[in-house]
Every structure is written in structure tokens, then in C-alpha cells.
């Protein structure tokens, strides 16, 4: 039982922070990125080494763990950076690392690690909420390959993806090259201004090698848990930044003849936000450590607990930050709203606090109730 950060951890954190300070200027962070800016930032993130952090050294990655992902995600969260990486590309690469064939790994992972290829996770379907169901996307074996039909929705970074990890059929996962005939993407932006898309497979034919052997719903769920842990860290960074910028505003803005920060009610709001922050940070650590656990029940229980804690903290702090900024907080110019929107997107992604509370209770009843 130890949450200590090593010197290497601190160095990584500081490097990512410095990068983010330069790449994502505070006064415009959260603004929607044009495709060219998005591409150049992607290259810069690759240069920084983020995409290879948790990829094995055998495939040109750094061979690190979810803890390092957490540290990086937290820093990206502070400046609303990172595009689709955490929510989509990270879990896709995780699936490949855990369950991909050797050929799949050697084809994709080294290129992912250096940012030359982007692989997105396409699992959600229309009408689903958060539980994984049997996909409506069909996979029919044909000759030596597979014929895929159906639509995956809300895929972050779909427009820029070179390929997709697609769940289909009874319980299978495929790698589908984006250029495959029959694959089309309807692009749009999500609430936080980031690019996403619905991916339609209209008689898309993939080879037999596209099937990810050994993969199925269990690996998909593990990947989603893994990404959820990283989103928790990202949210924590966003919460911290939001507290800082809100407090700065309260220090400067005057009302009734004194700075707002002199009002005790607003001071207590700051205290509560700080307590939310510290608890979120702790649970982000717990989620990162749990993400590596082989025990699926314990993993589910701890990661759901983290998502509940951070989801509630994000909601409270997001609402508080807007309220504290007053009318200014309702405008697009004010950064508070951009942070609140990203936190809102994170909350609705992979399950909100209500969903994860029920999931926690389910796994609580199955477990022994004592994590120690």
C-alpha cells in the first residue's frame, strides 16, 4: 500500500506539463481544433512519447504502466489536451497489446507508438447505454475472410483514424483498415468540440487475419476499464485547473466593494472543491493501479468507485465554477465552460456516476467487501 511517486514519475509529469503549457495556451484551451492543428498536435504528442508509454519495448514503446498513463492524462486534463487519445486510441492499442496476433502487433504497435498510425476503438452502438451488449454489427465468415455489416457510433477521432478495433458478431473483435471498401465515417463534433464519428460497415470485407484471436467481451471490458482509469486521471487534472482559474477569478472580480473571494460562502465553496480534488486524485491513483489487476471483479469494483467519485466531483466543481463566474461563466469566451463541457463528456463516457454506482454494488456483493 503505497502511492509514492518516484523521481521518474515526477520527471514524466513535469515534461508533460511543460509540453502542455506550450502546446495548449490557457486562453484558448478547449477550443475546437481545425484538422491541421489537430494533426500537428498529434505529431507533437507522439514526439513527446505519450503514445508509446505503455507499449512494450519490443514494439518500440516505453513498456511502462497505467500509472504513467495516469500522470500524463492528468497533465493533458489540465489543459484540455490530447484529442481522442485516451478515450479511443489508448484502449484500441491496449486490446492489441493484450490479445492481438503477433503480426497485428508488429504491424500496428510500432507505428502507433511513434504516431504514424491511429487506431480507434469502435464498440458503441445505437440504443446502448453503458453495458456491453451483443453487437448488432454482424460478422459472417466468407471465403477466408469476414463480411462486416452495421454501424458503430460515437467513435472519438474517427475521422483521423487509419483503422478501427471493431466488436462484431457473437463475441469477436476485428481490426478494420479505414480504407477498406464499404467503411465510411460520418464525422461530427462532440459537446467538448472534439472530433468524433459514426463508423458504418456496409459489406466491408476483411481478411481472416483481421480477427483478434483470444479477444472477446472480457478483453473489450478490460480495455474500457483501462481507458476509464485514464479518463479519471484526465478529469482530475481538469478539476484542478478549473479550481485554479475559478479562484483566480474570485480574487480579481469585485462585487459590493470587495473581491468576491472575501465572501465566506464562496470560501467554503473553495474548501469543498479542494476536498473533491484530493479525493479525485486519490481515486485516480486507485483506478490506475486497478487497471493492471488480473482480478476482473476487483478491477470493476475499484474503477467504478473511482468513476463515481470523480464523476460526482466533476459535476460539482463544473457547476460551481460556472456559478462563480456569473454571467461571464455562461459565455464561450470563458474557459470555465470549456472545462465543464469536457468533464461532462468524460462523465457520460463509459458510464456515468449512477451506472458505476450500480456496477460497484454488483461487484461489492460478489466480492468480500474488503480491498485490503
Amino acid at each position: 500500500m503505497d502511492f509514492s511517486l518516484t523521481g521518474d514519475h515526477l520527471a514524466l509529469r513535469d515534461a508533460v506539463r511543460k509540453f502542455c503549457d506550450g502546446e495548449y495556451p490557457l486562453h484558448q484551451c478547449g477550443n475546437a481544433e481545425a484538422a491541421t492543428l489537430s494533426a500537428s498536435r498529434w505529431a507533437a504528442l507522439a514526439e513527446l512519447g505519450l503514445f508509446g508509454l505503455d507499449i512494450s519495448a519490443a514494439y518500440d514503446g516505453s513498456g511502462l504502466t497505467a500509472v504513467e498513463i495516469m500522470l500524463a492524462a492528468q497533465e493533458l486534463g489540465r489543459r484540455l489536451g490530447g484529442g481522442s487519445w485516451i478515450a479511443s486510441n489508448l484502449p484500441a492499442a491496449y486490446i492489441l497489446s493484450k490479445a492481438g496476433r503477433d503480426a497485428q502487433r508488429s504491424t500496428w504497435l510500432p507505428k502507433i507508438a511513434v504516431g504514424r498510425r491511429r487506431l480507434s476503438l469502435a464498440y458503441l452502438e445505437s440504443g446502448w447505454r453503458y453495458d456491453l451488449a451483443k453487437p448488432a454489427v454482424t460478422a459472417v465468415q466468407q471465403n477466408r475472410g469476414w463480411l462486416l455489416n452495421g454501424t458503430k457510433i460515437n467513435v472519438p477521432g474517427a475521422d483521423a483514424a487509419d483503422g478501427f478495433v471493431v466488436s462484431a458478431g457473437d463475441d469477436a473483435l476485428f481490426i478494420v483498415d479505414a480504407r477498406t471498401p464499404g467503411v465510411s465515417v460520418q464525422s461530427f463534433r462532440t459537446l467538448d468540440g472534439r472530433a468524433a464519428g459514426h463508423v458504418t460497415l456496409d459489406g466491408a470485407t476483411v481478411s481472416g487475419e483481421a480477427l483478434i484471436t483470444g479477444a472477446g467481451r472480457a478483453v473489450l471490458q478490460a480495455a474500457i476499464d483501462y481507458a476509464t482509469a485514464a479518463l479519471c486521471a484526465e478529469a482530475t487534472g481538469a478539476i484542478e485547473a478549473l479550481i485554479d482559474l475559478t479562484t483566480d477569478y474570485l480574487k480579481t472580480r469585485e462585487q459590493f466593494g470587495q473581491p468576491l473571494v472575501k465572501f465566506q460562502v464562496l470560501q467554503h465553496g473553495i474548501a469543498d472543491a479542494l476536498i473533491d480534488l484530493e479525493q479525485s486524485k486519490s481515486m485516480a491513483c486507485v483506478a490506475a493501479l486497478a487497471a493492471g489487476s488480473e482480478d476482473a471483479g476487483q478491477r470493476a469494483r475499484l474503477i467504478s468507485a473511482a468513476k463515481v467519485t470523480i464523476g460526482n466531483a466533476a459535476r460539482r466543481v463544473g457547476q460551481w465554477a460556472i456559478q462563480m463566474h456569473g454571467a461571464m461563466g455562461m459565455t464561450d469566451e470563458c474557459r470555465a465552460g470549456h472545462y465543464a463541457k469536457r468533464l461532462l463528456v468524460i462523465n457520460q463516457m463509459f458510464g456515468d456516476a449512477s451506472y458505476h454506482l450500480q456496477r460497484f454494488i454488483k461487484h461489492m456483493a460478489q466480492g468480500n467487501g474488503n480491498e485490503s
Binding site: S126, Q255, Q323, D352
Partner: protein, 394 residues
Amino acid sequence: MKLEFSAEDEAFRLEVRSFVRDHLPAWLKRKVELGLRLERADYVAWYERLYERGWSAPSWPKEYGGPGWTPLQRYIFDEEALLGGAPRIIASGILMLGPVLMAVGTQEQKARYLPAIRRSETWWAQGFSEPGAGSDLAQVRTTAVRDGDHFIVNGHKLWTSYAHFCDMLFCLVRTESSSKPQNGITFMLIDMKTPGITVRPIRMIDGGNDLNEIYLDNVRVPAENVVGELNKGWSYGKYLLGHERTGIAGIGSSKQQIARVRALAQAHGLADDPALAARLGALEIQLMALEFTGLRMLSKNQESRVPSVEASMLKVRGTELRQEIYELLLEVAGPGALPFDEAALRGDQGLVPPVAPPDLMSLAANYLDSRKITIYGGTSEVQRNLISKAFLTA
């Protein structure tokens, strides 16, 4: 004491209900139910129907062409119209300027402006807030200097709702500097087409632009456009803000949104979710308690402990409750709330096919927009200050 509405009130309710059912355009009802953004033309489409029926200014007395309803009738009208899918009455001409003109306007001003407000021909913007001054009306820095039979107005107004589709502006300007900041403020009417006026729309958190900045640069305003006495504008402004009590709790809107939660839960397979049922039940009870509190305060010998801040109590509780309902709506939407299509939110075509189920698509924007209700019209923090202060000094 009785819980039932009188036979007359019940008959009135049915009358309103069938009027809404028969006259609210289907396209507009759908826009409201989907939570899409409304433009002036949308509101006017409804207000014109109301005008034909004599209901376009629900809060006005008969002598000015209003229906002369009792508070209870206005309450019933509000509820039935909103539950029937009609847009809210947002026109500040009806809600804000009208009562001030009736109270202190000249005969000429009344004759010139009131009928056009009722007919939805003239739309009025409210220009009270300025940069650096929040809810504190006395901080007005926009100046109006006499020049013959005109005033020359210079200044900067902020957070002006719907200014981009308004014809006229009513505002507070400083006509005299005074040691007491409440003095020397004048209530003035300004034609938005006057040279020197620039309107800059403010892009909002939800992508909409209901609010604007207005720059006034040597704007010439005829002296006859002063309302009431010169330098007494602060008291008229206060009268205006305190005037509109019916509806401050937003009961009709809350009921409309709770019905939306139920409909969405039904449509998206959550009707039997016990956790949702519990939260919805708790919100229904809170809404009921608030609704009956508003009604009780209209009853004889039932004034609250601090009658002067009843409106503040209803506002605080009503807005915070409505925000909780929007939060629940967002939760019901699930991942369907994430795609964001500005054109579709405006009611335009948007992306084809739609990027999210039409009934879920606007929920995140609606949630974000709802954050304003605890800020505008006096923040919840300011309201709580007022409530406790009134109680402690009573």
C-alpha cells in the same frame, strides 16, 4: 381552505388547454419539446395566436388590453401553455417594460408603445447590466447628457438578452453624478436603429447567442423618451425587477421538463429503473412542495415569516430544483447526449442522418443553458443574502 380548484378555474384550465391544443403550430410544439433554440419568428408565431385570443399579455390588466386574469388564472395559463408544449413568454416588453409604463409612463408613451408590445410588433431589449456591475443597478456608468431636446448617450451595456432581434431598448443611464449612487439615474427608451448603436452577440457556453453587448457611441435620444421623472430611474428599475412574481418559481417549466424525463425514460427503456424512479419521485415531491408554497403565499393570512423576500425564496428553490431536473435529463440521455450539431439545435437541417436521436440531441445544450437560471435575476448567493438579512432585521 381547499385543494380543489373552483369550477370556474377548472373551466378556465380546460379552455386554455384546448386553445393550446388547437392553435399551437405542430412544428413549434415539436421544436419546444425537442429543446431546440427559438428565434423571434418562433415566439411571434405563438404570440400572434395569443394576441388574436386576447392573451398575448397575460399579466396585463384589462384597461391596457390584457386579459385581467387573477394570479391563479395566470398560474393556470402558464402551466397549461407550457405542458401543452408552448414556448415561454420571454418578451421583456410584456414582462418588464409594460408594467413600468403603466405605472409612470405618459399617455403618449402608453399609447405609442403598449399596443405594439401586445401585437408582438415591437420587441424590447433590457439594458441594465454593465461591465463591472453585476446585479447592482446603482453602478450604472452609461451617461446621458442633455443637448437641446435630446440626450447624448455614451456607454456599454452587457448581457442584454435577445438584443439581436429587438427593435427598442429600455435602459438605465446616468444623468447626474451623485454622492449616493442610486440617485441621478434615468430610465430611458432608445430606438435600436439610432446611429451610434453597435450590437455584438456573445457566443454562449451552449453555442447559442441569446445575450449581447451593446455599445452606445454618441447616440441621440429624444427627451420625450425619458420614462417617469428624471434621475428617478433606479426606483423604476427596482420596481420592474420586483414586479414579476407569478412564474418566478418556474413551476410550469419544471413540470414541462419532468414530463420530458418521463417521456424519455419511456422511450429509451428506463421506465422500470428503480433508481431513476426514486430520483424522479423525490423531484416530484420537491416540485409539489414548491408549487403549493407559491399558491399558499397567494392566500389570505398565509404570508411567510418574511413577506418581503417570498419571491427570493421561490426563485432560489425553483431554479435549483429545475437545474436538478436538467441534470436528470442529461443522465437519462446517456451517451446520446454527446454529439453536438449546432445547425440541428437551431432547428435547421443539421447533419444527415442526425448524429444522435433527435430527442436526446439537445439535452446537453439545455443542461448547460440551465446553469444561467441561478445567476440571472440575482444569483442564488445574493438571494440567500437578501433572505437572511430580511429575516434578521425583521
